[in-house]
Symmetry: C2
Subunit: 325 residues, 2 copies
């Protein structure tokens, strides 16, 4: 004799990754499955107030009619005061001291966690991605810019001012090219996807994407030079990060990681060659792709719901396809 | 009516700082007062077994006839497995995988903590020295070499291989001078006291101490150049450390810190000038001088005795005179 159970769905959280271009959200159940997703452009041109409204609208839309949403997590770029749920500052979005946590908690009536996009992505890679099972890892997303998150025992180190992990702004060529940040010779000046595109165009007059440049290394000496410069700068940044953090594992993510072994192999070789007094930490490609931030948002939401250890049974093999990248 | 109390002394710990040249120990009571001190040369030339014997003898000598010694703490250079009390490796001393904790616990019959000299020194500066009250700090002793210890919430980050905090081996001039570690252009190659002496001698043919060179900056262009190079290299290392750790405070220690404002003022200026996208963390001189390691050894000993929070009432103003430097 079988008893029919009532069709109560398992509880879920709303998770949202707010970027300078787009906002990508989902509703994530206890098993890490997506109940629904939604994407919107980030209305940066309309000003910070419009972005805040758009975030609030999208979170409410994602919650929908579900009465089993137990928390929400939102990750944002720039500076973040996670303890108080405040988006402190973002150059891209233009906001300053937005009490996102309080606003969204009022909208939803559930606990809301706010944190930094890269640190949350690093947390996701550490907990359920490429660094699963490692006591410490350094997540380095190499995209338009280069950032970093050092995660120890499941906690991403934020720093005294929420500005830790800035691998991209380690100075590796003191007399080098100017960086957008105002310094000279930063890792990011040479090794970000944007830097590869810009430096190739400066040499050749031709605009190509980073992926196109990575595909031309055998036939195009300018592509080779620009790529080698990127690998050198990134390897020097990783020498510094290895010397200071001594991470158990380094996870390379972001758009440029799509180049796979074309990036990773020479990077491992360069790091090994530069580091004389110790072996380098193992370098691997990120597992969660552009979904790292959204998974991170889900993990901090579940933590806000009182489930900080959730995720060990999540299947993230379809991470990059589960939500549109 | 007063009652005469029995003359029971407060309990105390044995603390020892083992360096490549000398061993400096003391017996430290609950109030951080020294009951007695002892120093011996480290018999490195006689081999690692002789050093282990000398450490054991000195710890037993320090314990003396006192029956109220509740723990011991010994700090050593190189690589350390603090959890298991093993001195894993030291180039200077030549030992490998010495189970110091087990050996000394058998000698003394009390709990014994073993840890890294620089990390213990950083812990001491954080708990009872220049970074007292700070949530995070980076301790950078600039002496014969340059090391570092990043301390967060009273814990010095050891790293996956016990090799974190190596500020001295951040590469700041990729095509620069060879470092003893085998790399090129390390911070230590330019900014250690030994590097200042070596580079001044190479330019002038004259052997002078780092202190003498620091005293000649206004009258000796070679001294000025060598000193400026040291400040530049150290500032670039601190740019990397700031970008990665985002410490609340940086504490400059070691022998070169004896130069005081002659080192600190240009270092603050160089770091401020290099860092464009954020203000530098405050830089201060160490408070414990060459006693940082011995205080650190006492703190880890007290922690082994079940008193991890001791020290807040210790008077360390006489740190550099309480035990002979």
């Amino acid at each position: 004799m079988t008893e029919t159970r009532p069709a109560t769905p398992p509880p879920a959280v709303v998770a949202l990754d707010v970027g300078g271009t787009g906002m990508k959200g989902w509703v994530c159940d206890r098993a890490g499955r997506s109940r629904r997703t939604a994407e919107r452009p980030t209305p940066v041109a309309a000003g910070p107030d419009a972005v805040v409204r758009a975030v609030r609208d999208l979170v409410v839309e994602l919650r929908g009619a579900d009465d089993d949403i137990v928390a929400a997590g939102v990750v944002v770029p720039g500076m973040v005061d996670a303890a108080n749920g405040v988006a402190t500052w973002s150059a891209n979005i233009g906001w300053r001291d937005v009490p996102l946590g309080t606003l969204l908690a009022a909208d939803l009536g559930v606990p809301v966690a706010i944190d930094h996009d890269v640190r949350s992505g690093g947390l996701a890679e550490a907990r359920i991605g490429a660094a699963r099972g490692r006591a410490s890892s350094l997540f380095v997303p190499v995209g338009t810019g280069i950032a970093g998150a050092f995660v120890v025992d499941g906690v991403a180190h934020a720093g005294a001012r929420g500005a830790a992990g800035e691998v991209g702004h380690v100075i590796v060529h003191p007399d080098g090219e100017p960086c957008a940040c105002g310094q000279h010779g930063c890792v990011e000046t040479y090794a970000s996807a944007a830097a590869v595109v810009r430096r190739y165009r400066a040499r050749t007059g031709t605009a190509r994407s980073a992926a196109e440049i990575a595909a031309r290394l055998r036939v195009d000496p300018d592509a080779r030079t620009v790529w080698d410069d990127a690998v050198t700068a990134l390897s020097l940044g990783l020498v510094a990060a290895t010397a200071l953090y001594d991470p158990e594992l380094v996870v390379i993510g972001g758009g440029l990681a799509a180049a796979g072994s074309v990036l990773l192999d020479p990077l491992v070789a360069a790091l090994t060659a530069r580091l004389a007094w110790r072996a380098p930490p193992p370098l691997v490609l990120a597992a969660l792709g552009s979904a790292a931030g959204r998974y991170g948002a889900a993990l901090i939401a579940w933590a806000a719901a009182g489930e900080p250890d959730i995720g060990s049974d999540w299947d993230t093999t379809a991470a990059t396809t589960g939500v549109t990248a």
